[in-house]
């Protein structure tokens, strides 16, 4: 696994550094060339002045006519120098004082420019030219110290580098922000998927970028597909179990009639397996996006059903207005409450009470009846032998096996005690906020 954001940022950083470095280097060389070309044009101009100023005197000694050259050539070490070589004579600018312009000896024909180190920290750009005047061959060198200019160029390049680094940093920061905003779509997507799984209301719609739209569509299709398949599977298994029950009942009866105890065991086994698979089909359906589970509404409906089945029992519902949908599977909850309420009504003499309490973290269901109840020994028996006790006694058990499986799935708890009404009090507690990993996989 790698971070897309980090990868994009890293690539951008590397590209920026490469591009900026190339730009800086190119800029530096262009500027350097420009400055040298500029100095060179001036050197050429001064060489032309020098050519016109150098004359032979009455004694045929060549000299530079006084006052014809710029004063900078007169100041010692001014950074501007010339040298004329004619007829075995060397005419030097006073600025040279006791040094020479390093000439390209042995290459008298050379005409052009070159760089050479001067005295101290000076760097000279030299313009060299060959001319003929008054029947003589003249070699002319004009030099200028370009070190101050180059130093300035280096300084400006350093500023440019600092600016480039700053701009790069700002660009990377901005790009990070844009990326963060763009990647929010994935957070949104994940939250919506999680909402589907937990049957919460979906997040308000987000404008889905073109690049991700196909993925979103695919996920939506997949969710739909899964939902349909689970419902179909559940239906099929329900049908199958239902279809099998009757022939199984028939077999049971035959077996009882024939007192064939050898068959009793496998038949009971088949029955158990059948019950278990039926339960499993229901429990595993927890990913069904079957709408919200609004417990108060569902319970009112269930109590109405119970009162029809047990007309002599008055069923009371004690709950606050629990309009908030719960993150629980509707079918599981109906199965659980239906079973326990059915038990309560079955054993009640005139009244059963269902109390529902929802706190931030858990759902508490309390079923009570005013029947004979169970004595301590019987309660202990249920606890000790486990709630699976009834599973082997098909048809007239307490249905506690199924209930226990459901409660286990949600990591809840089930406990029994004596009710104030006289009968049994069954308390179910189910935590509401399950960690993702603990949530049953579809």
């Amino acid at each position: 696994m790698y971070s897309l954001k980090r990868k994009i940022t890293r690539n951008l950083t590397i590209n920026m550094i490469i591009v900026m470095s190339v730009l800086l280097i190119v800029m530096y060389f262009f500027m350097q060339q420009l400055l040298r070309d500029y100095v060179l044009t001036r050197l050429v101009h001064d060489a032309e002045s020098l050519i016109s100023a150098v004359e032979p005197d009455a004694n045929q000694r060549w000299q530079v006519m006084p006052g014809r050259m710029s004063a900078v050539y007169e100041r010692v070490r001014s950074g501007h120098y010339y040298q004329v070589s004619v007829d075995g004579q060397d005419l030097l600018s006073r600025s040279l004082f006791d040094t020479d312009i390093p000439t390209t000896a042995g290459n008298a024909d050379f005409s052009g420019h070159y760089l050479t180190p001067g005295p101290g920290s000076e760097t000279w750009l030299v313009w060299v030219q060959q001319i003929r005047k008054k029947g003589q061959a003249l070699n002319i060198w004009v030099a200028e110290d370009i070190e101050p200019i180059q130093q300035q160029l280096r300084q400006y390049t350093f500023y440019a580098l600092a600016l480039v680094l700053l701009v790069t940093a700002i660009l990377i920061y901005l790009q990070q922000r844009i990326l963060g905003q763009s990647f929010y779509i994935f957070t949104w997507l994940r939250e919506n998927l999680s909402s589907i799984r937990h049957r919460k209301a979906q997040q308000p719609g987000l404008q889905i970028p073109l690049e991700i739209a196909p993925l979103v569509t695919e996920i939506e299709k997949l969710v739909d597909h899964l939902r349909n398949r689970i419902e179909r599977t559940r239906h099929t298994i329900g049908n199958l179990a239902h279809e099998l029950k009757r022939p199984l009942q028939l077999l049971s009866m035959q077996q009882e009639n024939e007192k064939n105890s050898a068959q009793a065991e496998p038949l009971a086994e088949i029955k158990r397996i059948l019950e278990r698979e039926l339960k499993r089909a229901k429990i595993s359906g927890s990913s069904k996006a079957g709408g919200d589970f609004i417990i108060a509404d569902e319970m009112r409906f269930m109590i109405a059903v119970m009162e029809k089945i047990y007309p002599q029992i008055e069923v009371e519902l004690a709950c606050e207005n629990l309009a908030e949908p719960l993150e629980l599977d509707r079918d599981d909850m109906l199965e659980l409450t239906g079973n326990l309420l059915d038990n309560a009504c079955k054993f009640a003499s005139s009244k059963a009470v269902l109390a529902i309490r929802v706190t931030d973290r858990r759902l508490t269901l309390i079923f009570e009846d005013d029947g004979k109840g169970l004595d301590t020994r019987q309660v202990e028996e249920i606890k000790q032998r486990g709630v699976r006790l009834d599973e082997t006694v098909a048809g007239h058990g307490l249905g506690l096996g199924i209930c226990n499986d459901i409660i286990d799935t949600y990591q809840g708890s089930l406990s029994f005690s004596a009710s104030a009404l006289g009968g049994l009090k069954v308390t179910v507690q189910i935590p509401l906020e399950l960690a993702d990993t603990q949530y049953p996989e579809p």
């Binding site: 500027m31 710029s70 004063a71 007169e74 006073r94």
Partner: protein
């Protein structure tokens, strides 16, 4: 950046002043003395007087004084003061330092 630099270069190049008065001793004589090793080269003298301390060299006059050659250096220090140094050209020793007001 470009303009400043070009302007600077241009301005320096356009300075036009009459040739200065000659020295007591000609450039050719000095060159000959330096070549013979009787005088230190200007470069080695200047290396004894760093720019940071004594200022940037503006100009130099060479004087002959009882057979010795003395350089009169005019420098501009970073505090804006013009300084005059008298230096023995044979060994580079400082004879006189004068800060102008």
């Amino acid at each position: 950046m470009k303009t400043t630099l070009l302007f600077l270069v241009l301005a320096v190049g356009m300075i036009n002043a009459p040739a200065r008065a000659g020295d007591d001793i000609s450039q050719n004589e000095i060159r000959e003395l330096v070549r013979r090793g009787e005088l230190l080269s200007l470069e080695s003298i200047l290396s004894l007087y760093p720019e940071k301390q004594y200022g940037k060299l503006l100009d130099l006059e060479a004087e002959r004084d009882h057979g010795t050659v003395i350089y009169e250096l005019k420098t501009l220090r970073s505090d804006g003061r013009v300084t005059e140094l008298k230096i023995d050209a044979r060994n580079g020793s400082l004879l006189k330092l004068e800060v102008e007001d």
